[in-house]
Symmetry: C2
Subunit: 321 residues, 2 copies
């Protein structure tokens, strides 16, 4: 849940006066996204989401995110299209914060994805990678492998608090990942946060993706690795190889993986687990007790890290292979 | 903001299977209402709100609230109509809590009502009182004058914490209100919480009311008094007599007040301020630090109480009369 910024009817009217969207008919804060404030906005012209970007989103990155969303929507990918005001601007300001109005996307996220959902989601991720081809802007992945050691610097004590001895294990993982990190894989537009809560289904079919605020230019296979970690672990911490195979089958039906991409998946999945462990560990310590948004448990990703560490081929072959 | 209960896609699908509303197309928690959890629900049949009733709402009162909402909607009042499932039930359960699906109501609430909004809101309240005529159910106002002394019992220390000497002032107010409380005024269906955040406008015109979860059988003039306190005080604590006159003019254009009702407004406004002071004082002490929902400041209503105490004719004539 996240509504950090309060927008009055007067502030909304002032903003809408610069758009060709007609008068507002409904406006409600919605509990979607954890980094920004989102509002359902219905006007005479249709339904939209007003997003107010909070401090977590770097304003310098907004042109990339919004131009990408526009590109994807215009290249047939089911995602929210940003609306331009009468001067052509996608980014405006309200209460001193950047904001944007994007189209409303139908669909529901699933809490417990089945293998069938994983297949659909895999297809949806491949479609995103294909739709992004030709997008002229780039953005480095500032939460990619090159950043992990510096992200961990200063968090050693937090890791020890979480689990004695963990700091040393993480340092050893970081060395391993630095040594074996694959280079030269096919890259392009990646979502980089393709989690079940960012993927919509209608009637069991993939119907779109939201929250492109970590999107970047990355190895496609890394995007798959992030998603495998997010979609294919059971609540008890075990890896569901059937779900993973379905995700990959759905992906490859639209974009077959090269040999190098496939071979890289295990180390990429290990690294993708590191990326989410590190940001969750950071947020865990940085969030004051009693804050509105409860930070996500870093131990969930510590356990995923441990699984990849002990069974490096798990993602491809399962435990029994 | 309030989303206390988390509903999964599977739980939603199981619930909707008993309704004739088609498949879900969108589902988002919304930040509306402080006592219950509300979700925007779009299905193939239209747009709805799913409300999950939390502990504050007495389940025994739900048939009254929901039958009233259905009555009002069917008697031309712009409010959400509850949807019955295939067995005709308005109340269902999810996660062990009662819930209901009601129609989506367009409109925006206003943060800083103008005198013109007050006139519209007055008309909207009168329309509610008229539309409720003939509604066969009744519900006593369990937060009415008869309850205030027992509501204050045990809160003396909290009142002293808020402002030294306040406990004695409140006891004296309660005695005065008990002595002078008007009897025999015209009664009927009252909203009892007709605050600006529960009233919608479209294009500056009253377009509907929500949140009937304090509705009860009460003196119509008490409902007006609650609203005058909520709509006609400026942020600096002063009473805006122009706004009050406009509210009453809007009301009386649809339902003229009798002489006794008009004469009772000052003491009713004093009492209505007491009702909201007492529940806010209770919530202030009962809400743990760091809770998701910040309790409303009881001092706002302590100041309104003081205004009515020192200028008993204010509501009708203003300071200068």
């Amino acid at each position: 849940m996240a509504v950090y910024t309060d927008i009055t009817d007067d502030e909304l009217a002032a903003l809408l006066a610069d758009y060709d969207l007609g008068a507002p008919l409904a406006f409600k804060g919605i509990a979607e996204g954890v980094s920004n404030s989102n509002f359902l906005l219905e006007t005479e012209a249709g339904r939209y989401i007003l997003t107010v970007y909070e401090s977590r989103t770097n304003p310098d990155d907004l042109p990339y995110f919004l131009e990408l969303m526009r590109w994807l929507a215009r290249h047939g990918y089911p995602s929210s299209e940003p609306m331009a005001d009468r001067q052509g601007r996608l980014i405006r300001h309200v209460r001193g914060k950047p904001c944007a109005i994007t189209g409303f996307l139908n669909g529901l996220s699933v809490r417990r994805p089945t293998a069938a959902h994983c297949r659909e989601a895999g297809g949806g991720l491949a479609a995103l990678h294909l739709a992004g081809e030709g997008f002229p802007m780039t953005r480095a992945n500032d939460l990619g492998q090159a950043a992990w050691s510096s992200m961990f610097a200063g968090l050693e004590a937090a890791a020890e608090d979480l689990k004695p001895g963990l700091s040393r294990t993480i340092l050893s993982d970081l060395a391993l990942l630095a040594e074996r990190w694959p280079r030269g894989l096919p890259t392009g537009v990646c979502h980089a946060d393709f989690f079940p809560d960012n993927v919509f289904f209608t009637g069991g079919k993939f119907s779109g993706a939201i929250d492109f605020y970590f999107a970047c230019t990355e190895a496609f296979a890394y995007d798959i690795a992030v998603a495998l970690n997010a979609w294919c672990f059971e609540p008890d911490g075990s890896f569901n190889i059937t779900a993973a195979r379905q995700f990959l089958a759905g992906y490859e039906a639209a974009r077959p993986l090269g040999q190098a991409e496939r071979a890289a998946l295990p180390i990429l999945a290990h690294g993708a687990a590191m990326r989410f462990f590190l940001t969750r560990l950071h947020d865990w310590g940085a969030t004051p007790a009693g804050a509105l948004v409860k930070p996500k448990d870093p131990l969930e990703y510590e356990r995923k890290l441990a699984v990849h560490r002990s069974s490096p081929d798990l993602v491809l072959f399962g435990d029994g292979a």
